[in-house]
């Protein structure tokens, strides 16, 4: 039965809203004390069983009943017109006071049927009745008046259904109205224009329940809304708290950042004075001053180790700075024995910091702190394992400051820089002392060499002179053997003489006594003199001696004539010495205005490539030994090169074994 099912569903839905306090029960036999909440189930059960049920009115819940209670069978096809309504009858002509008294007399009576000459005009509930009365405040309702006119007078939009409409369908139509019209009466039209008011109690209940449900819904909605508002508020509160926390944290971070920046700046300042400045005075004091202003602490001080026992030296106050409201740590408190510092030193000498507050320091430590008037101390060792040279510390005199990582890190880094500075200063002092000693020793050596070589000349002159006299027969002819032995003495003495000359020159170079004296001189004249002297030597040896003065050569230059002559003499002397046949050539030119160029070339033995770089070192000859065949100290080229370099000039060599050598000298003008 789809229709029954639809009805059942609809009623179920309807009654599902019903809770509560209405004094009406709908039951087959008006059962007593049936729990109201089961009504819907009961009703649907009954419909399911036989499709019929009864409506009875009376105060079943309170166990009361009254004469005019009614009982009527209703089924799906029951119409208003078919109801037996004798017991609820109110004549339409009756005055409203009669209706009122009918309700008053029957407390359980919830509605009356309005009749006109035994024809049902409508059903009106007690509530509706009084509502109408109330709306008509102070005005009697004349029920004789046609219902439509009456309803119109109170501006009511009734639902009109035909008298043939089933009650269940009427309920449905009534409930399907918009919520603002759901309380309006329902009119049953028996004939066109002949409408009667219908007010079935269940309908009213349904409406009431629906209202209650709506109200409940509204309450619920309100509650939800309230809850949402509350939770939203809570959320907002939470967000706000978070924000405040974030702001706080950010401010904290900013403060820490400020501290860090200040510390970094201080580190840079300390590094500048300790590591890079050339200053030697007040460096440590300056460093401590930077620290005290950055860390904002009462005292900053440096203790240095002094000889105590070997492994644990005592400490003495070396430097200190202090807040302006404090006075310095006095002299008599500036010494600390190993015993006094006790456990602190063992920690410090393992490279760890001491952070101590007076309230939780060991008794001997707190005595030490009190000695200073310090309430909170941070100590960092200066040095490295095996070489601890002191301690640097912060001291707070009033508060018990908790030293944070920044403080410790800053002091550690400064301690390391301080160590580097002190070590550097120490080694610089040692270096300076060693340097002084070396300079003195070198000066002494140079002076000794100068003196010795000077003093050697006179006896050498005697040996050379007498032997030469002997050799050429001034004292009578010698045998060939005697002559050759005399020659050996002569050669050896000459070699010794050049050795002495070289040593003297080198000594002068070492002493810095050899200086370049610049003065204007005539180049060609100087060359001529050198030529005169060297031509004589070369031609004695059977060599061709060539001098080319290029036109580019200036007439006059400013330079050290004596040294330039010495250079040319040395180079030409070497060329003549190492050349057995062929020529020795001197070429002078000025390839640019800024350079005077000398080129000394020969057709001598030449110099192997690998020796080119060594040839200018002192005491070097090509074969690495001082040979008798080519006498010379080996100092000649070394001194020549040093002289040229003193003139900011350059000497280069181009040579191959067997193909001669060319030395090129360039001297800036």
């Amino acid at each position: 039965m789809p229709r029954n099912n639809a009805l059942k569903d609809r009623l179920d839905e309807l009654f599902s809203h019903i809770t509560g306090s209405e004094q009406v029960s709908i039951a087959q036999e008006a059962p007593k004390n049936r729990p109201r909440r089961q009504t819907s189930k009961y009703l649907s059960d009954n419909i399911n069983r036989d499709g019929r049920f009864q409506i009875s009115a009376g105060n079943g819940a309170n166990g009361l009943s009254y004469e005019n209670s009614f009982s009527v069978e209703v089924d799906n096809s029951t119409t208003v017109g078919s109801l037996d309504l004798q017991n609820f009858r109110v004549d339409l002509n009756a005055e409203s006071s009669l209706v009122d008294s009918a309700f008053r007399e029957n407390q359980g009576l919830v509605g009356v049927i309005l009749c006109d000459k035994d024809i049902i005009q409508g059903i009106i509930s007690r509530r509706k009745f009084y509502e109408h009365l109330g709306k008509q405040f102070g005005v009697s309702i004349f029920l004789k008046r046609p219902i439509l006119v009456m309803l119109e007078s109170i501006q009511t939009k009734a639902l009109t259904v035909p008298a043939t409409c089933a009650i269940a369908e009427t309920v449905r139509l009534a409930l399907d109205r918009p919520t603002d019209q759901i309380f309006e009466p329902v009119l049953v039209e028996f004939a066109a224009g002949d409408a009667s008011l219908l007010d079935i109690y269940t309908l009213l209940l349904a409406q009431t329940k629906l209202l209650a449900a709506l109200q409940q819904q509204i309450v619920k909605d309100n509650a939800e809304l309230e809850q949402r508002v509350q939770s939203r508020s809570a959320e907002l509160l939470k967000v706000n708290a978070n924000l405040e926390l974030q702001i706080f944290e950010r401010r904290l971070a900013e403060e820490r950042l400020q501290v860090r920046l200040r510390y970094e700046k201080t580190l840079n300042q300390c590094a500048a004075v300790l590591l890079t400045s050339g200053e030697s005075h007040g460096i440590i004091q300056k460093t401590l001053t930077y620290l005290i202003s950055a860390v904002e602490v009462s005292r900053v001080f440096v203790l240095e180790t002094i000889a105590g026992s070997d492994s644990h030296p005592d400490l003495r106050l070396r430097n200190q700075v202090y807040a302006t409201n404090l006075s310095p740590i006095p002299e008599q408190l500036s010494f600390f024995s190993v015993e006094e510092l006790g456990a602190w030193l063992r920690i410090l000498w393992s490279g760890k910091p001491i952070t101590s507050q007076i309230s939780d320091a060991a008794p001997d430590e707190s005595a030490l702190l009190e000695k200073f008037g310090i309430t909170s101390i941070l100590l960092i060792p200066i040095g490295q394992v095996g070489n601890w040279i002191g301690v640097i510390g912060f001291g707070e005199t009033k508060t018990e400051r908790i030293w944070d990582d920044y403080d410790i890190q800053l002091l550690y880094t400064v301690a390391q820089m301080l160590y580097a500075y002190l070590e550097r200063r120490q080694s610089a002092l040692e270096l300076a002392r060693a340097h002084d000693k070396a300079v003195k020793a070198n000066l002494f050596k140079s002076e000794l060499l100068a003196k010795v070589s000077h003093e050697l000349r006179t006896p050498l002159g005697a040996v050379l002179g007498y032997t030469q006299l002997l050799h050429y027969g001034s004292y009578g002819d010698l045998t060939n053997e005697q002559k050759s032995i005399a020659q050996v003495v002569i050669d050896s003495t000459k070699y010794l003489a050049t050795l002495v000359n070289g040593i003297l020159d080198q000594a002068q170079l070492d002493k810095g006594q050899l200086v370049i004296n610049k003065a204007p001189f005539q180049v060609r004249e100087m060359v001529k003199e050198v030529e005169n002297r060297m031509r004589f030597l070369a031609e004695n040896k059977g060599l061709e001696f060539i001098v080319i003065v290029e036109p580019s050569t200036p007439n006059e230059i400013t330079g050290d004539r004596v040294r330039i002559e010495q250079i040319l003499t040395n180079l030409l002397g070497n060329a003549i010495k190492f050349t057995e046949e062929g020529y020795v050539k001197l070429r002078i030119a000025s390839p640019s205005n800024a350079i005077l160029l000398f080129e000394v070339s020969d057709t001598g033995v030449g110099i192997p490539e690998k020796e080119h770089s060594r040839i200018f070192d002192p005491f070097t000859q090509v074969d690495g030994s001082l040979t008798r065949r080519h006498d010379g100290t080996g100092l000649g080229l070394s001194i020549t090169k040093q002289l040229i370099e003193m003139m900011k000039g350059l000497i280069t060599l181009n040579s191959q074994v067997g193909k001669g050598s060319t030395f090129t000298v360039e001297i800036p003008l």
């Binding site: 050498l460 002159g461 005697a462 050379l464 002179g465 006299l469 005169n532 030597l537 003499t569 002397g573």
Partner: protein
């Protein structure tokens, strides 16, 4: 032709003896004076053809002697040869002499110099200042 006259001012007897003998061997007249003051007195009496002048002398130094005579007209034809162990001093004074010999002196070279001087009589000191700087030989 008369022999040339050489005055040897040198306080070391061995060296003065060697110079004198070497010069005599090439026909120079020689006289040795071992004292600066005596040498100055002697020079005032007679200007030699060749003056061999040591720098380190007792009483008056060779340098002072040189200062005294180098611009003196009477010594215009005197060929002045400085002999010194101190190369630096020699370099300083070489402009005021004709030739510089560093000790130890190569006698053969010295004789060759003196021999050339003998043949080259007209040469004035100022025109031919040559100095024998340190050579490697």
């Amino acid at each position: 032709m008369d022999n040339k006259f050489a005055l040897i001012i040198e306080d070391n007897p061995m060296l003065s003896n060697i110079f004198a003998r070497a010069l005599r061997d090439i026909n120079y007249e020689t006289e040795i004076i071992p004292d600066g003051k005596l040498a100055l007195d002697r020079l005032l009496i007679h200007a030699p053809d060749l003056l061999l002048l040591d720098m380190h002398l007792p009483n008056v130094s060779g340098r002072e002697i040189l200062e005294a005579i180098y611009e003196d007209q009477r010594f215009e034809n005197t060929y002045i040869v400085i002999v010194t162990a101190d190369a630096r001093m020699g370099e300083m004074l070489v402009d005021k002499a004709n030739f510089l010999l560093n000790k130890p002196v190569d006698i053969i070279q010295f004789q060759q110099l003196a021999e050339r001087l003998k043949n080259n009589h007209q040469k004035t000191p100022q025109q031919s200042r040559m100095k024998n700087s340190k050579t490697e030989n």
